[in-house]
């Protein structure tokens, strides 16, 4: 029996952690609605589980998404994630090959170099020793980067890194100690009785020249085991709870569990899955334009988790989704924020009884300009011109007595009020008999697609225009001027429409590729979701966005949202802001 008292801190720590996690996760999952629990059981025995395993490997271990932010940062996270994982797995295989049974106690693999007499070889023992040293070196290199990041985060591509609680800094220190302690313990042991490979063996020989390794080796194993034990015991109360929780989240997400309108157990799982990497801080324009560094998802979730006041943070979010698009854990950050916004009104269907029943003309195509669309009549005129050019007969749903789509109410937490408006709009759309709904406003577009449950196709006008161009119903010529595209938040990141508007724009102008294309587009600052910032602050965000696009010296900044057009126009005196419909109409 391989045993020594120094394995106790590790063994106690890991057992406490496992028991805690089982209790915690069981409680969370038991509090899920029955429907979600059924989904889990159904998803468990399907291909979804395999997809989840793949995602766990790519995101929790390799940290693929972090690489997108910065390769150095990705490498650093990969060293810890994949490195530690390989250290455990390869260590287990090595100990199994030596011991010929997989049922050796967990600590045996972890402290293998202590228990294994170095003079006793076994199949591939040199190869194992080399691989284990290589993995340890990988982790130590990551540790060096992590330390550099704490001192100077810009070196790893982060302008701002997260401010952690003192407790989290303590456990960070414990984590950082684990691997150097392992390195020392293995090196000291190697220095006394041999073993190890290029790293620990060489270090052992080196240390043996001037250190009393006989008296240092055993305490080093104690220190290594104690650091591990302490880390495991502190883990549930620190941000490192994200390590096991993120995996649970990925499985649940793949099995079909979604963040609903309420902050529930699944929201808590997401909250605990946040690693506080701080990638959202640099992405947030409230930080980059306004210097606000306490409202990003990392801090919002941190405040909820540690029972701090978060009312301001709940309101102070543009819901542009820039953080969500970059989040390496793929947390549903907008939905989480929204779930904390309460409905404080008393709206019933009688409140909006003044809204008349609209009976639009029956046509195959229905057009909905939206409230914001009506603020930019030039966009509506352009669309009317294009419908005529393409010889499409359409019905204008909200031409005269239109109402709001309901999404602005939803963004304020007022779902009951929104549902009343949705019912009314839905009735009008259905009365038109259309099989295609085209809207000019991305805010309306998102809610028509996601919340209305319409049985017809819904398209944003940029998608529709691209379809008309592709089918030849519109034959625009390509103008000489250059354009950049500002993809509205609700369209690009919100509804995953990125390629089609850009294709339409390329057909009618010389579109300049920018670093803000696709999911990286900026927010104009006009977002209705934020009820905290002032008009001056909104203007500052718009100014910075205009300056960012102006750096490419385009003839026009083109957007596909009346709200963005209105907001950006206020601050773009030199470069005109146009809607994509206006640009297409000009060239048809």
């Amino acid at each position: 029996m391989y045993y020594d008292n120094f394995v106790l801190p590790f063994t106690i720590g890991i057992n406490i952690l496992i028991i805690y996690l089982i209790v915690r996760y069981t409680r969370w999952i038991r509090s899920f609605p029955k429907q979600d629990r059924k989904r889990i059981v159904k998803g468990m025995f399907s291909a979804k589980t395999l997809r989840a395993i793949k995602e766990v490997f790519l995101e929790c271990l390799v940290h693929r998404k972090v690489y997108r932010t910065s390769p150095f940062l990705g490498y650093m996270h990969m060293c810890f994630g994949l490195g530690w994982f390989l250290l455990i797995v390869v260590g287990k295989i090595e100990s199994t090959v030596y011991h010929t049974t997989a049922f050796n106690p967990p600590y045996f693999a972890i402290f293998f170099r202590f228990f294994h007499p170095a003079n006793e070889t076994f199949p591939y023992s040199n190869v194992f020793a080399f691989i284990m040293d290589l993995i340890l070196l990988l982790i130590l290199s990551g540790l060096l980067l992590a330390f550099t990041k704490r001192l100077y985060s810009k070196a790893l591509g982060m302008k701002k890194t997260t401010n952690h609680r003192p407790f989290d800094l303590l456990i960070l220190t414990v984590l950082w100690l684990i691997f150097p302690l392992r390195f020392l313990a293995e090196s000291f042991t190697s220095g006394i009785r041999g073993g190890g490979s290029f790293l620990t063996h060489t270090a052992g020989d080196f240390f043996s020249q001037f250190l009393p390794l006989e008296s240092l080796s055993y305490p080093a194993w104690w220190a290594y085991s104690s650091a591990l034990g302490l880390f495991f015991i502190l883990l549930p109360f620190s941000r490192y709870m994200h390590i096991p929780t993120e995996m649970v989240y990925i499985f649940l997400k793949n099995w079909g569990i979604k963040q609903g309108t309420a902050f529930n157990a699944f929201s808590e799982i997401q909250m605990y899955s946040c690693s506080r990497c701080g990638i959202c801080i640099d992405r947030c324009q409230l930080n980059t334009s306004l210097g606000m560094q306490d409202t990003q998802p990392v801090y919002f979730l941190k405040k909820i988790r540690h029972h701090k006041e978060y009312a301001v943070q709940t309101e102070n979010c543009l819901m542009c989704g820039r953080c969500e698009a970059a989040c390496p854990v793929d947390l549903k950050l907008n939905a989480l924020r929204l779930s904390k916004r309460e409905d404080l009104t008393r709206i019933t269907k009688y409140t909006y009884s003044y809204i008349p029943m609209v009976t639009p003309e029956r046509r195959k195509v229905a057009y909905f300009a939206g409230c914001m669309g009506h603020l930019t009549p030039s966009v509506i005129r352009a669309m009317q011109h294009l419908f005529k050019q393409a010889q499409v007969e359409y019905t204008f749903i909200d031409e005269k007595e239109g109402i709001c789509c309901g999404r602005p109410l939803m963004l304020s937490g007022n779902r009951s009020g929104a549902s009343v408006l949705m019912e009314k709009n839905k009735a009008a759309i259905e009365a038109s008999g259309a099989d295609l709904l085209v809207t000019s406003c991305p805010i309306c577009y998102k809610t028509f697609k996601e919340d209305y449950g319409l049985n017809i196709e819904v398209m944003h006008h940029s998608e529709y225009l691209n379809r008309l161009i592709e089918s030849g119903q519109l034959q625009p010529h390509q103008a000489d001027y250059t354009t950049v595209f500002h993809n509205p938040c609700e369209l690009g990141r919100g509804s995953h429409v990125c390629g089609t508007p850009e294709a339409a724009l390329k057909a009618v102008s010389h579109k300049i590729a920018t670093r803000y294309d696709g999911l990286n587009s900026l927010c104009c600052g006009g977002s209705l979701a934020n009820t905290h910032i002032t008009s001056t602050q909104r203007t500052k965000i718009a100014m910075d966005a205009v300056a960012a696009y102006a750096a490419y010296h385009p003839d026009y900044i083109v957007t596909a949202c009346p709200l963005c057009k209105k907001t950006l126009s206020k601050k773009s005196t030199e470069i005109p802001i146009k809607d994509i419909a206006e640009i297409v109409a000009e060239n048809c």
Binding site: L344, Y354, M372, L375, P408, S412, T531, S535
Partner: protein, 97 residues
């Protein structure tokens, strides 16, 4: 009507929660563009005036007609956060009840 005897707590709450409401010059741009105002007697300019005067009951009656679409926010020449104003009013009524 004696404005001095009216309850000004609502107005004070509004001024604190939505300070930009104090910038209103009563131009009526918000009302002219209002989606709800196009269909019924709903007037944001009047609504904020009623609250400031302490005519709370009348203000509460029409408050919820707002659809929070945000058009008024974009046309306001003074940068009054009209949506925040409406939400602050709702919050006050909610707290009172």
């Amino acid at each position: 009507m004696n404005y001095d005897k009216n309850d000004k707590a609502f107005a004070a709450y509004l001024a604190q929660k939505a300070p930009s409401s104090k910038l209103c010059i009563g131009c009526g741009g918000c009302t002219a563009t209002c989606t709800a105002g196009n269909l019924t007697e709903f007037n944001i300019r009047k609504l904020q005036m009623l609250v400031k005067r302490g005519e709370n009951e009348e203000a509460c009656k029409s408050l919820y007609k707002c659809m929070l679409c945000g058009k008024c926010l974009l046309v306001c020449p003074r940068g009054v956060d009209t949506r925040k104003m409406i939400l602050a009013m709702s919050e006050y009524i909610h707290r009172q009840s």
